[in-house]
């Protein structure tokens, strides 16, 4: 009876404790107005590129020879390009591609980096020596050259582009995961789990990974911004996403041919890339302040 009461009491205390932790977290979040603004802007951009295309009358690919290089108007918010396509519709379509490539390639890099870097850090010794030498190799090749090599060899199917950009990011993630797993592997809670017969996989997944997660989230957020920039650069050079599929990068490539006649064409895609990447960077910095007490 008394036991049950005590149980209930600690349960209630625990609930109250977690509620106050939560409200404290909320208060800390509210003290980051820039981070909140960046987050909201990202939500708006993502909702816009996902849902808005259904509601606008223009198609991103339909050309119109009688309305080329039009200035912005009520019918074409951002004007038309050299083939008479609606620039706003293309920005939205390109945004879908750019954001998807950014998110998925970050996931590729994050997964690969965490698994390989984490394994190296956890086991140490020869395993670490070999795996980290591979990481060094990837770090030694300037990212863009590595990406050029892969795209040249394997072509520029969108999936290849995603994997390639992810490969440009994984080595950095691996270094962080390596250091973190190494730091935590000798902590008491890990030794306790080992003493209880926890397998390596279980220890890595259930005990160490949650500790590394905050840093991984921060890196991932910054990584999406980096991936969007890289994809844009690649497509701008004609080596990434290929027309007629629009991406913010290849729209810029087109626009450069019309700098003297319609310079405004080159402004829009870049503005959207900059706004998106800026939001990811600001959100990443805010998350770092929030989640990573050491920095």
């Amino acid at each position: 009876m008394i036991d049950a009461g005590a149980d209930r009491a600690t349960g209630a205390a625990r609930a109250a404790g977690s509620a106050s932790t939560r409200s404290r977290l909320w208060r800390r979040i509210l003290r980051k107005p820039v981070g909140i603004a960046a987050f909201l802007l990202l939500v708006i951009i993502i909702l816009a590129v996902v849902f808005l295309p259904q509601f606008i009358e223009h198609s991103p690919t339909r050309t119109n020879a009688r309305a080329i290089l039009q200035p912005p108007s009520t019918s074409h918010f951002l004007g038309t390009d050299e083939l008479g396509r609606d620039v706003f519709a293309r920005i939205l379509a390109g945004g879908r591609v750019s954001l998807a490539v950014g998110l998925f390639s970050m996931l590729v890099g994050l997964t690969l980096g965490t698994v390989i870097g984490g394994t190296a850090g956890y086991f140490g010794g020869k395993v670490e020596a070999v795996l980290m030498r591979v990481v060094d190799t990837f770090m030694a090749i300037p990212t863009f050259f590595l990406i050029l090599v892969i795209v040249t060899s394997f072509g520029n199917h969108p999936v290849t582009v995603i994997v390639t950009v992810g490969l440009g990011f994984w080595a950095q993630m691996a270094r962080v995961a390596n250091a973190e797993f190494k730091r935590f592997k000798s902590h008491e809670f890990v030794e306790a789990s080992r003493a209880l017969g926890g397998t390596h996989l279980r220890i890595m997944r259930r005990h160490i990974m949650p500790q590394v997660l905050p840093q991984a989230i921060v890196l991932a957020t910054l990584g999406v911004g980096w991936a969007i920039l890289t994809e844009a650069a690649l497509s701008y050079l004609g080596l990434g996403i290929q027309p007629p599929l629009a991406s913010w990068g290849n729209m810029l490539q087109n626009a450069q041919g019309y700098l003297w006649r319609a310079p405004i064409l080159a402004v829009w895609p870049g503005l959207f890339i900059a706004a998106t990447v800026l939001s990811f960077n600001l959100l990443g910095n805010a998350l770092r302040d929030l989640l990573d007490p050491r920095s």
């Binding site: 090749i141 810029l252 600001l282």
Partner: protein, 315 residues
């Protein structure tokens, strides 16, 4: 110290070997082949003769060994599309890239150091916020787009700077002409490079300001100038030097894109042309040279680091 140098040297060579292995096999195991070797008017025998000319009829490990043998002797093979030795193409282009890269690096370091120190000394005051905004923008704005906007402003609207190229074609060498072609690309590249340097400098100077030896220097009555210059700044430069390796890789990646925006005929442009034309020996050569430069810079940085900070050597 000699042990340390030797160890780092061996590590550097191992990494370079792995770079060559990785790039060679990525390229050679991929489906398809050099595009200029495939055309549909030629007979099978003609195509095979072409493959044989570039050694492409042999198995891949044999090709790697003979390529590596050449590399060790300074022979990177021949360009498939242009027929010239890769080393010759690289020699023609490397100078142009170095002019751009070094100028950008000097600009980025100078401004990065000044802004980073200014931000640290005025922590949480307006100069810190302004510097933070500038470096966040530098990280977020795509450098090729920034380049295009600069072309629109300075070449299309104002007409004061050339839109591209590294010199006016057909005009004899003139320093003013070269510089006017260099301003925009080097400035844009420096702007995207600067945030790294600003951040590390700011953090390092902040670290130093709260360091014990700086407090001691102040306590023993040294003038503020001498505390800052001789004690704080000098030590703050250590981590800044340490990121030069990273900066070098960012610089290379950036110059590939910027050379294309401004039509500079450097090795970045060479790499893009080779990638578009599937000119494998050229891609391999450019990547290997870029990798070597990065490894060498990292090695120099580590050695410099070990000279400055004796604790590193013992580790």
């Amino acid at each position: 110290m000699a042990d340390y140098i030797f160890k780092r040297l061996v590590q550097g060579v191992v990494v370079l070997f792995l770079v060559s292995l990785l790039t060679f096999f990525l390229i050679n195991l991929a489906p398809g082949g050099p595009s200029s070797l495939i055309d549909f008017q030629s007979t099978a025998a003609e195509r095979e003769a072409r493959l044989a000319r570039f050694g492409l009829d042999k198995p891949v490990h044999q090709r790697y060994l003979s390529w590596l043998g050449g590399v060790v002797q300074g022979d990177l093979g021949r360009s498939i599309n242009q027929g010239l030795p890769v080393t010759q193409l690289l020699k023609q282009r490397l100078g142009t890239t170095l002019v751009l890269a070094v100028t950008a690096l000097v600009l980025a370091s100078a401004f990065g150091l000044i802004l980073g120190v200014a931000a640290a000394l005025n922590r949480d005051k307006w100069p810190d916020h302004v510097v933070n905004i500038i470096s966040t923008l530098g990280m977020s704005i795509p450098n090729f787009w920034f380049g295009i906007v600069m072309i629109i402003v300075f070449a299309v609207w104002l007409g004061v700077l050339p839109a591209g190229g590294s010199s006016t074609i057909g005009r004899p060498f003139s320093l003013a002409d070269r510089i006017s072609h260099l301003v925009l690309p080097a400035g844009v590249l420096a702007f995207s490079l600067m945030p790294n340097i600003v951040r590390v400098t700011r953090a390092a100077v902040l670290d130093m300001l709260s360091a014990d030896f700086v407090r001691t220097a102040r306590a023993k009555g040294l003038r503020e100038r001498s505390v800052m210059l001789k004690h704080a700044m000098r030590n703050a430069m250590v981590p800044v030097v340490a990121i030069l390796g990273l900066v070098a890789t960012v610089l290379f990646s950036g110059s590939v894109v910027i050379e294309s925006v401004f039509g500079w005929a450097g090795i970045g442009r060479l790499a893009i042309e080779a990638a578009n034309g599937r000119d494998y020996p050229v891609i391999l050569g450019v990547t290997l040279v870029a990798g070597t430069i990065v490894v060498v810079i990292n090695l120099l940085v580590d050695l410099l680091y070990a000279v400055i900070d004796p604790r590193i050597r013992r580790d």
